[in-house]
């Protein structure tokens, strides 16, 4: 079974994000970068499926040249191949990103054979467009479901589960297929020392992406309005319990 995973390099979650002076980008001076959380789980899922069913994993990313780091991280965990689509570092719009990824995947498949499964993260942690995987699937003519928190493979069918308001929805996709996964599908592993060392020397293929800009143009970043709240201190330690229960009563939550 051949699996592809498309990942994005983003600042580490939890970091305080500052905007550059011109408002065009974020100030990356003191930021650590990582693989977007949903996609970190997508890589882990691809590795687990490969361990179970055989085959190989190819990690793709489109982004600044520095995104080589996220590809090598994938290799250090156990992926076999990596493909970098370098940009000038600006955030490409979703249509352009998807078109470039679809081209790179087609090219790779023409050379090495079809990917049975292509995994994306449900949405990127930074721009949160909720669409690149769906657009790639559409360009390749493949079935796609987002929001997946469980995958089983048997007899050429990917059975995928997604949480809904009332429980779980189950989807059955004949492969080749595309799935957008969510954090929580697994707990990603850490690389071994051996994996780290060998990933440094591994080959990362570089494919220069073309692609025409789509209709969405990010102009400027702005800080979100800080929620200003006059915090009412109800008390200190367990002595504050009666004040908390008074609050619950006041809000009508103990009826």
């Amino acid at each position: 079974m051949r699996t592809a995973v498309c990942v994005k390099r983003v600042p580490a979650p939890g970091a305080r994000i500052n905007i550059s002076a011109d408002g065009q980008s974020i100030d990356t001076t003191h930021l650590a970068f990582t693989t977007s959380p949903h996609e970190e789980c997508a890589v882990e899922e691809a590795l687990r499926l490969t361990e179970k069913h055989g085959g190989d994993v190819t990690v793709f990313t489109l982004g600044a040249g520095a995104a080589d780091e996220q590809l090598r991280y994938g290799l250090s965990l156990g992926a076999q191949h990596a493909v970098l689509l370098p940009t000038d570092g600006t955030d490409w719009d979703p249509q352009r990103t998807a078109a470039a990824l679809a081209d790179a995947i087609r090219e790779r498949e023409a050379r090495d054979g079809q990917f049975d499964l292509i995994l994306f993260g449900n949405e990127s942690a930074d721009s949160g467009g909720f669409q690149v995987g769906i657009r790639v699937a559409n360009a390749l003519g493949r079935a796609c479901v987002n929001g997946i928190k469980g995958i089983d493979i048997a007899d050429g069918i990917a059975t995928a589960r997604r949480e809904s308001d009332v429980g779980l929805e189950v989807y059955e996709l004949a492969m080749p297929a595309v799935l957008g996964v969510k954090e929580g599908i697994n707990l990603p592993r850490y690389p071994t020392l051996k994996g780290r060392l060998s990933s440094k020397k591994a080959d990362v293929d570089v494919v220069t992406p073309a692609g025409v800009a789509g209709g969405q143009i990010a102009l400027r970043l702005l800080p979100a309005a800080e929620q200003v709240s006059e915090t009412v201190i109800l008390g200190h330690g367990p002595d504050a319990a009666p004040a908390i229960v008074d609050l619950l009563e006041e809000l009508g939550l103990l009826s």
Partner: protein, 327 residues
């Protein structure tokens, strides 16, 4: 006349509250453009005309096909794309839920149109070369992005919980139009095949109180007093990403950007520092109470109420006080 088309979200005919947010946002946009508003119920029924009308839709397009009886991203997205081609609306609006974003992205991909997710504000642009000026959220809401859109048919999802649903003062009944899309079995290949219903009871999405724990809880076992308090008040337990990463709670309990966005009456944050990625998942709560040893923690400064102290002592004391008052 051109209209703003609003996608109603429903599950087997049961309308989601998110639909009311989309109708309210769509009505605002239609007002700005001086056009009417229509709703679309993919696989829905004429029974939704009442709600659509009470939020200001003049028409409801009931999209009817056997492949739309249950949810399927491709069947729903393809049907929406066909309706958009037929109606040529001034804009297409949905709420940015899992289904809302997915159906809009499926339709936009098929129409080769841009789709912008999690918008807060949309207005026609006065800038040369741009047709729409948008403000949307990034980083789950911690940054905003001002975006220009060159599409004449903007397809937008509005950020969930960012719009307060409001019916109109003098509601009418929306006129029902039936639209039959041309679908084949291939479009239904991603339809829901089976469902596993969760045992009935409150969930993060429906609870009035969420008792949520962070790194400060310290272990899986230490969640027991939080569970006890939640059970006592008829609420549920939530947690931060640090907790699921440590394996103390299942990911389905996680509140935040990569977990569930919640909106209870009261969110009790116990030992949660309040990183922005957690806050964006909790900020739609009506009231937030932080219990934390650190008076400078982000969660404390952002909360409506706070108790400074050790959650391991405060939480059991609250449960005991409730039981004492109940006698």
């Amino acid at each position: 006349m051109s209209t703003v088309l609003v996608v109603l979200e429903h599950d087997r005919g049961s309308l989601a509250d998110a639909s009311l947010e989309a109708l309210t946002a769509g009505r605002g946009l239609a007002g700005q453009l001086g056009v009417g508003m229509a709703a679309v119920a993919l696989g829905g029924s004429a029974a939704m005309a009442g709600v659509a009308g009470s939020y200001g839709a003049a028409t409801i397009h009931v999209v009817d096909h056997e492949f739309l009886a249950d949810y399927g991203p491709e069947a729903w997205g393809e049907s929406l794309a066909q309706l958009v081609q037929f109606l040529q609306p001034a804009a297409v609006i949905a709420t940015g839920t899992d289904r809302g974003n997915e159906v809009m992205a499926q339709a936009a991909a098929r129409l080769d149109l841009p789709m912008v997710a999690n918008v807060l504000e949309a207005r026609p642009s006065s800038m040369a070369g741009s047709l729409w000026a948008l403000t949307r959220v990034r980083w789950g809401g911690s940054l905003l992005e001002s975006t220009s859109l060159t599409s004449a048919t903007p397809m937008l999802t509005f950020s969930h919980h960012a719009v307060i649903a409001e019916p109109i003062a003098a509601p009418g009944l929306a006129g029902v139009e039936t639209f039959v899309p041309s679908l084949d079995a291939a479009h239904a290949r991603t339809n829901v095949r089976d469902r596993v219903e969760r045992p009935a009871g409150v969930t993060l999405a429906t609870a009035r109180i969420i008792v949520s724990g962070g790194r400060g809880v310290g272990s899986a076992e230490n969640f027991a007093p939080l569970t006890e308090l939640a059970t006592t008040v008829g609420g549920v337990v939530g947690c931060s990403r640090a907790v699921t990463n440590n394996g103390w709670r299942p990911h389905s309990d996680q509140v935040g950007q990569t977990g569930t966005r919640v909106a209870p009456d009261l969110y009790i944050a116990c030992g949660i520092s309040g990183a922005i990625q957690h806050w964006v998942g909790a900020m739609a709560s009506k009231k937030v109470l932080a219990i934390n040893t650190d008076p400078e923690a982000n969660m404390v400064t952002k909360a409506d109420y706070a108790v400074i102290g050790d959650l391991h002592k405060v939480v059991p004391a609250v449960t005991a006080e409730i039981l004492r008052r109940r006698g």
